[in-house]
């Protein structure tokens, strides 16, 4: 029976409710192909990224022996990890490496990117030149820098001696080993960051610079009042991403120094690796992995907040 209300509302109110199946079919017909293309990537990340992360949460609370059933041990792994006398050393080294990497590895790409952008000629050449270290295979990179750091015949000490300066022990001294690794890491990776900065710089309107030039602003004033404010969102994001990335440093100390000399380059990530793959203490590796994960998660939350700031700036 048709009600008065239906008569007043008109024919629209009389449209039948569509069954769920047909809604689903409609959506699939719209988005199905796109979902299909996403499926391989989703499967890849699910299997190789998310599943191991989730599994690690269980591993941290177990005594796991590869090939055998795991045993639940509660917080025992966390207690053992936090009681490891090497952990404070590793945390200190990791924070120091991160701090140095941000100090050197942040300023260098920024200055390089701005400098190359300011060039009138040869931009393409320098853009290529600074990116070259990124495409060197890792093993070649490490062999090259081992030679450079050699205290007796290495190129760095030869350069220092040429200028009448004393050579350094580089990787062989606890005082200089970490800084040496930062130097190598910065050299290998600054090109990518510099290129990203240059891409952001190319988005700044030329008219702003022209207007500033007309008003008599020199290079430094143009950088200070136009370039840096425009780059601020990019700087913020890259800074935080670099922070998260460098906190997970492992490859450089593992290959170049073995964590020495005297644990001077032992990092948290390297400890995790040793727990798992040298001592078969997978539970402890999982526990320390979770602690690092929580710490990095907090940093990521800061990064997300930073992203919102960027969006506000763009608007």
């Amino acid at each position: 029976m048709i009600s008065v209300k239906d008569q007043q509302l008109g024919p629209m109110s009389l449209q039948p409710v569509q069954p769920f199946g047909s809604i689903l079919r409609k959506k699939l017909s719209h988005y199905g192909m796109g979902l299909l293309f996403l499926l391989p990537a989703f499967a890849f990340y699910a299997i190789f990224q998310w599943a191991p992360i989730i599994y690690n949460f269980f591993l941290a609370f177990q005594n796991f022996i590869p090939g055998l059933p795991a045993e639940w041990v509660g917080l025992a792994n966390f207690r053992r990890v936090l009681g490891d006398s090497l952990l404070p050393v590793a945390v200190k080294n990791t924070l120091t490496f991160t701090g140095l990497a941000l100090l050197i590895g942040f300023i260098v790409p920024l200055v390089t990117g701005i400098t190359i952008t300011e060039l009138r000629k040869g931009r393409s050449f320098f853009r290529l030149a600074i990116y070259m270290p990124n495409i060197i295979p890792a093993i070649a990179l490490y062999v090259m820098w081992l030679y450079l750091f050699n205290p007796a015949v290495g190129l760095l000490n030869q350069i220092l001696n040429f200028f009448g300066l004393p050579g350094s022990e580089w990787l062989l001294s606890p005082k200089t080993a970490l800084v040496s690794l930062v130097m190598m890491s910065t050299w290998a990776n600054f090109g990518t960051t510099a290129v990203l900065y240059m891409a952001s710089l190319s988005a700044i309107s030329e008219e702003l610079y022209e207007a500033a030039e007309i008003d008599g602003a020199g290079v430094w004033k143009r950088i200070r009042h136009i370039t840096l404010p425009a780059l601020r969102p990019t700087i913020l994001i890259l800074l935080l991403m670099q922070l998260i990335f460098t906190m997970q440093v492992m490859q450089e100390p593992m290959v170049m120094t073995g964590g020495g000399p005297n644990n001077a380059t032992m990092t948290v990530m390297y400890m995790i690796y040793n727990y798992a793959f040298v001592y078969a203490e997978f539970g402890k590796a999982g526990a320390l992995g979770i602690l690092l994960f929580v710490f990095l998660l907090l940093l990521s939350l800061v990064y997300v907040k930073g992203s919102h700031l960027v969006e506000k700036e763009v608007r």
Partner: protein
Amino acid sequence: MEVFGKTRRFVMAVSLIVVLMASLVPVMAAKQVTLKVVIGPDTEDNRAQNQVTLERIKRFEAANPGIVCKPVPFTYTTRQDFFIKQASRTAPDMLDVWATECELLAGRKWIIPLDEYIKTWEKADWINPSAYDPFRYNGKIYGIPFSGYVKHIIFNKQMFRENGVPEPTLDWTWDDFLNAAVKCTDREKGIAGFAPMTRGGEGGWTLTDLIYQAGGECEVYENGKWKAVFDSPEAVTALQFLKDLKWKYDVLPADWNAGWTDVYNIFGSEKAAMVYDADWGRNVAINGQGMDPKDIGVAIMPKGPGPKGRQMGVQGGNFYVINALSSPEVQAAAWKWLTFELWDEADIQALANSAADYRAQKQYRAQFEYIPLKPDSPYVEGRAKVFRDNADVLLSWGSDEFLLKLPQTAHIEPPIEAQVLYAQFLAPAVQAVLSDQKADPARLLNDANARFQREYLDNVE
């Protein structure tokens, strides 16, 4: 009706055939066992040895129909490969491991006890009973020793000659060692008198030798408890000696941060006059770097100072173990592979045949090894003859006097968590004294000793 009856008979006949075939499949599968056996990684210095292994596989399969061998390139040089393979159940069913690995492998139930197999093995009493000791765990034997070593020194004879250094005597001392190192060092040419391993666990392994030579110990068992004792005056003397080699006498390589392979590459490229070696290091120098074996001499470890000083080197070796994750049928097959041609005529013949492989590959069988058999076992003399007849490729090391004395200088590795002790506690102390002239060996060892006691030995049940 007739058609229906024919159809029914046809269907029944087919079903019967299918059931019979299906019942045969597990029987056929059960008759064939796939055994994962170790073969060396495909590198330059393994070529000849791998060929020998492949030929042995052929003979084994011919003698054991129903067992198919699947070579798994693997070498127990780093543990993580084994852990990953165990987790994925692709580890070899029988493998050879270091003498220090018993507690790790048996404690985690990754290997099976072999007592029941040994009871029925006709060669069980050929083996020196003490040779089993590194792989006894909770009263059971978990490994069969097949080669042993006692660490000693290998030196470059040509360098010694050129620098007027007499070759080491059987009872040389730290002073003689130091004198040789100083005379052979040439800073301008980048030649070091002595190149120790200092990186990772190898650094701790090196210091352990020096501690033993100085008269010290790493771990002792007292009053029902394991005690760390590497903070003793003897251990401090050992670390001080290493420190002096760097800062006082300057006989170490400029880049002293060297691991196992680095040291033998340095030696093989004639940039160091002396290195410690156990067994396989010289293989890198000879087959990897092309060093002439005639230029390599061997010497007992030098005697440390003072009344407690002794000539001592770490004793180790390799043991055959069987994977506990394998099925019982595969474990039985693994035992057959383990004992196949082991120390018998066929083994001697295979050794003789291998000489041809080494000649063809232009390589040497360079490793040093002790066979853990009693001297009167039939195998020992036969083997010695093969080495004599093929001395151009099958290398023997040391005079009779050297070989007689070497076992007397043997000292077993620390029984509890040796690899952890080496890598986490002793190696950092080594690196500290080599990287900082002001480092205090006594303080470093006191601190490391206390931590190792607290974090590891106090937790041993």
